[in-house]
């Protein structure tokens, strides 16, 4: 079923998850991955290979912003931060997802 989901939707979902994570505050890539794993009870396995390209895409589109900061290990780390445009995008993605899941639920749980 999942494999048949349109690519755009998957991309959209991953983007939305990243944006949502960053809404809590700036963070680096690994922390974002960990946070998504933990909060979804590892249910949605974020493909680690697609996380970073997604972050770069979001940065290119101006939804997130990056700065060099310091990681917990004391090493230089690229810290991502939600921009105003990103916040708006997150709201839009959330609304879309809500409509989508409501529609799907209506069909799946109808009698």
């Amino acid at each position: 079923m999942l494999s048949k989901t349109p690519n755009a939707l998957l991309h959209g979902a991953l983007d939305a998850l990243i944006l949502k994570t960053l809404a809590r505050g700036p963070n680096h890539g690994y922390a974002i991955a960990r946070f998504i794993e933990e909060t979804t009870d590892e249910a949605v396995l974020v493909e680690e290979g697609s996380l970073y390209p997604a972050l770069y895409r979001l940065e290119r589109r101006g939804w997130v912003d990056a700065e060099w900061g310091t990681s917990e290990l004391g090493r230089r780390a690229k810290l991502y931060r939600l921009t105003d445009a990103g916040r708006q995008q997150l709201a839009a993605e959330t609304a879309t997802w809500r409509r989508f899941s409501a529609g799907v639920s209506k069909v799946l749980f109808s009698r």
């Binding site: 680096h28 890539g29 690994y30 991955a33 960990r34 493909e47 680690e48 290979g49 970073y52 390209p53 770069y56 895409r57 940065e59 290119r60 101006g62 912003d65 990056a66 700065e67 060099w68 990681s71 917990e72 290990l73 090493r75 230089r76 780390a77 690229k78």
Partner: protein
């Protein structure tokens, strides 16, 4: 802004960025796995494998990262540009006087240029509105006496059938004539008509919008067929498609309408209908009738040179076959575009382009000067910015943005000025200067030209000041407070003004030459002495006066009736008017008794049919022999009067009593008319700027009556046009049934005015531009003087304090101005020596290096410059040493 900060302050190469980020990820994941109890040896492997194909991942990230950085650079650039523009506008708003002077200067320069560009574009650049216009060629015949003449239909057909270079050749008669169209109600009207051969529309690639054009079949059948213009179809037939195939009665015969041509189509001259003149099966004597303007369409890939060689070969064969007509005749090919536009118009366009180009340069120099002055004032500001870390490139970019903003505002205003000029242009451009196929329009091309001119100008006049203004070590400027830096900037500004003055002198000199030419062509001796003469074409539309006798009677009655009008001093008739001969060389002549001359070598003459009263009416003196009188009747001894140029072909012998054999040039083998010369009339000008006296023969009206004649009326006193009403009333008293068409009412002065139109147009245009250049140059001069006075207030104050008189101060200022103006005039006159020669072909009655003009220009410049420096000199003279020293 945040993003740009990151990218500028934390610049990390993209590869390193990706490597570090992934390394950190792997490192932290490994630690996490170990903490969860994974074997440390395997943990790192596992962490890596979870990322998948690392190389591929890195490539993807680097790729996106590169694109991101590129876009960011553009964004930053745009941000800076926006900031620069905002800053520029703020700066300009802060000095409104500077902004107004600079933008208006640019608007004038760019506006004049865009209007002239429209002219050049229309005449020289844009292709003709015909299909595949590059392959169209005008074909002429030339002989010993005619350098560029029309062609005979039989020759044209042979070129077509024997030559191999042309897809098709066709022709038309250049002059537009009239046909009388009979209406249903019995009323007649004259319709303008141009004769064409059947193939002309196919050669030009014109498609009819209704019906068809002429075919070869029409030609072979010698059908009476016409096509009409869209405006005529619309206004006269309400765009009724039913008119196609209908027969119209024209000049008494029936003609079938076969098609309608698109509205913008024109050959040479405006016409309502095109009537087909058959060219197949013409009699052999038509070989000598040179009546057609031929146009050929080259086969694809054939050059005009190859076609010329091809036709030359054909012409050589024809000359052997028909030596009588074709010996000594050659064929001339010319791109149709060149032929339509003409050398004169081409030169005029280029002249204007050169002139406005110089005007624009002066504008640039002025604005550059203003900017230099401003830059000097702003050095402190710039030095501060430089000290705060702005690079020189960044500051230059900012200053360039400022000048570009300025020039774009000027360019936008200039486009408006150009549109306004083009709006009034049609009313000042003399009729006939622009061929009908050339249209002046303010279109996207002109706008594009204005825009590129603005950008170019902005860069040119902005770069030097920007470079100069940023050429400092900041410490220096900050210390000296920007006071003592007049030095090199001042020299550059003075040089700019010298260049402006030189350019203005050049333009004034050209204007002076053209003005003297205009005076020469307007004050030439017209030959006749009447001051003011009214003329009108009287056309008794055919059928009412079927015989020459009745027609002559009609003309005589009109003459008698008009003579009786109060205030009329003289009335005469002529079939053409002085300065209005459109077709030079109407007849060829031979002196009877002299050895015969070969047909193609016969001299030609203008042929004018006049009434006996014509000479006294125009007060045109008969120098020898007699004028026409009542002896010269129809059927009587055939006589003529020749002009002075004609008389010279008798080489000193008296022409009176000699006989000449006259033939129309269009049918050289016709039986000649033998006429006895009874008088010699004073030379009348054929064109105001003719270089060779024009040969003319007068024939009495009774012996060669034309269908329509010009009536000429001289008033006893006052202006001739005041008689128009009473003369027309007199004509309608004779023509009681109102069947006579009276048109082309004008005075001979109008005709002379029109004949000198192109000289006047050139003179007026160049004088206007030269005046503009002079004003701009003086603005520049006043600018540097005022500025240098301002810069030297302390200096002058010290001199005054040390005892210098007002005279000393004035001498200083005047010497300053005289150096600049003197250098400018000297350089300008040197350039004029070259410039005058370039426009030599447009001059008449004045030499290209005219000393009077030189002197006048120098004097004019001296006076204007003296007036211009009054202001700055006054200010300098009033400097109070005490105040000047205190303020510094």
């Amino acid at each position: 802004m945040k993003r740009s900060l990151r990218s500028w302050l934390w610049r990390v190469p993209i590869d390193q960025e990706v490597d570090e980020e992934l390394a950190l990820h792997v490192e932290m994941r490994t630690r996490e796995l170990i903490a969860r109890g994974v074997d440390p040896a395997a943990a790192r492997e596992l962490a890596l494998s979870r990322l998948g194909d690392i190389a591929h991942l890195k490539r993807t990230m680097t790729d996106i990262g590169r694109k991101r950085d590129r876009e960011m650079r553009v964004t930053v650039w745009l941000d800076e540009l926006r900031d620069d523009i905002k800053f520029s506008l703020r700066q300009l708003r802060r000095s409104p006087a500077f902004m107004v002077v600079a933008t208006l200067t640019l608007a004038l320069g760019i506006g004049a240029n865009s209007a002239i560009f429209a002219l050049v574009d229309a005449t020289l650049l844009r292709p003709l509105p015909y299909g595949d216009p590059d392959r169209l060629v005008a074909i002429w015949e030339h002989s010993a006496t005619v350098a560029r003449g029309y062609v005979s239909p039989l020759n044209m057909m042979d070129w077509q059938s024997r030559g191999r270079s042309f897809e098709m050749i066709a022709g038309f008669t250049p002059a537009v004539g009239g046909m009388v169209m009979a209406g249903k109600d019995g009323n007649a009207e004259t319709v303008s008509r141009q004769w064409v051969s059947a193939g002309i529309f196919d050669v030009l690639g014109v498609r009819p919008i209704a019906g068809r054009t002429f075919t070869r079949d029409d030609d072979v059948r010698r059908a009476n067929v016409i096509v009409m213009s869209e405006p005529f179809w619309r206004t006269r037939f309400n765009s009724d498609p039913g008119v196609i195939g209908r027969e119209l009665r024209l000049d008494g015969s029936l003609w079938t309408v076969v098609g309608v041509l698109p509205g913008n189509f024109e050959l040479l001259g405006e016409t309502s209908i095109w009537a087909m003149r058959p060219i197949t099966n013409l009699p052999p004597r038509a070989r000598g009738a040179y009546v057609l303007q031929a146009v050929g369409r080259l086969k694809a890939g054939v050059s005009i040179e190859a076609a010329a060689a091809d036709l030359d070969a054909v012409g050589g064969v024809l000359a052997r076959e028909f030596p009588q007509t074709n010996k000594g005749r050659g064929i001339l090919l010319q791109p149709l575009h060149d032929s339509l536009v003409g050398r004169d118009l081409r030169r005029t366009s280029l002249l204007f382009l050169g002139v406005v180009g110089f005007v624009l340069l002066i504008c640039c120099a002025n604005v550059a000067n203003l900017l230099l002055a401003r830059a000097t004032v702003r050095r402190r500001e710039l030095a501060v910015r430089s000290a705060l870390g702005a690079g020189r490139r960044r500051i230059i970019r900012q200053l360039l943005t400022e000048s570009l903003v300025l020039s774009l505002i000027g360019g936008a205003l200039g486009a408006g000025v150009g549109a306004a000029i083009l709006n009034v242009a049609p009313s000042i451009i003399p009729h006939g200067l622009l061929p009908a196929t050339v249209a002046l329009t303010f279109d996207a091309r002109v706008v594009a030209f204005s825009a590129s001119a603005a950008v170019l100008v902005g860069v040119i006049f902005g770069l030097t000041p920007a470079w100069k203004a940023t050429d400092f070590s900041s410490a220096d400027v900050l210390v000296t407070e920007g006071r003592s830096i007049a030095g090199s900037g001042g020299k550059l500004r003075a040089l700019l003004v010298v260049a402006e003055v030189a350019t203005a002198v050049l333009l004034l000199f050209g204007a002076g030459l053209l003005l003297r030419t205009l005076v020469a062509v307007e004050t030439f001796d017209r030959g006749y002495r009447a001051e003011s003469v009214l003329s009108m074409l009287v056309d008794p539309l055919g059928s009412k006066y079927p015989t020459p006798e009745s027609l002559q009677q009609f003309y005589d009655q009109v003459e008698a009736e008009v003579s009786a009008v109060p205030g009329v001093a003289g009335v005469g008739w002529a079939d053409s008017l002085p300065l209005d001969f459109f077709d030079a060389g109407g007849i060829s002549y031979e002196i009877v008794g002299d050895p015969p001359v070969q047909e193609s070598q016969r001299p030609t003459s203008e042929y004018q049919v006049v009434s006996p009263s014509y000479f006294p009416t125009l007060d045109l003196p008969i120098l020898a022999g007699r004028a026409f009188d009542t002896r010269d009747t129809r059927g009587g001894l055939e006589v003529c009067i020749i002009n002075e140029a004609f008389a010279r072909s008798f080489q000193g012998r008296s022409p009176i009593g000699k006989q000449v054999a006259l033939r129309p040039t269009s049918s050289p083998q016709a039986k000649p008319v033998i006429r006895e010369i009874v008088g010699v009339a004073r030379q009348v000008k054929g064109r105001p700027d003719e270089v060779k006296d024009f040969v003319q023969v007068y024939v009495p009206m009774a012996q060669d009556l034309a269908d329509d004649m010009f009536l000429v009326v001289r008033p006893k006193a006052g202006r001739a046009e005041a008689l128009t009403g009473s003369v027309r009333a007199a004509i309608s008293r004779v023509d009681t049934e109102q069947l006579v068409s009276v048109r082309n009412v004008m005075t001979l002065e109008d005709i002379a005015w029109a004949a000198t139109g192109r000289h006047r147009f050139r003179a007026v245009m160049v004088i206007s531009f030269a005046a503009l250049a002079l004003v701009l140059a003086m603005v520049g001069l006043v600018g540097i003087l005022a500025y240098s006075v301002q810069q030297h207030v302390r200096d002058i104050g010290v001199r005054r304090a040390l005892g210098a008189t007002t005279g000393d101060v004035l001498r200083l200022i005047i010497a300053n101005a005289a150096r600049v103006v003197g250098a400018g005039v000297a350089i300008g006159l040197a350039l004029s020596a070259v410039g005058g020669r370039l426009i030599q072909t447009m001059l008449f009655g004045v030499r290209p290096l005219d000393l009077l003009t030189c002197a006048a220009v120098t004097l004019l410049l001296a006076i204007i410059a003296a007036l211009s420096i009054l202001g700055p000199a006054w200010r300098a003279a009033r400097i109070d040493p005490a105040i000047a020293l205190r303020n510094s």
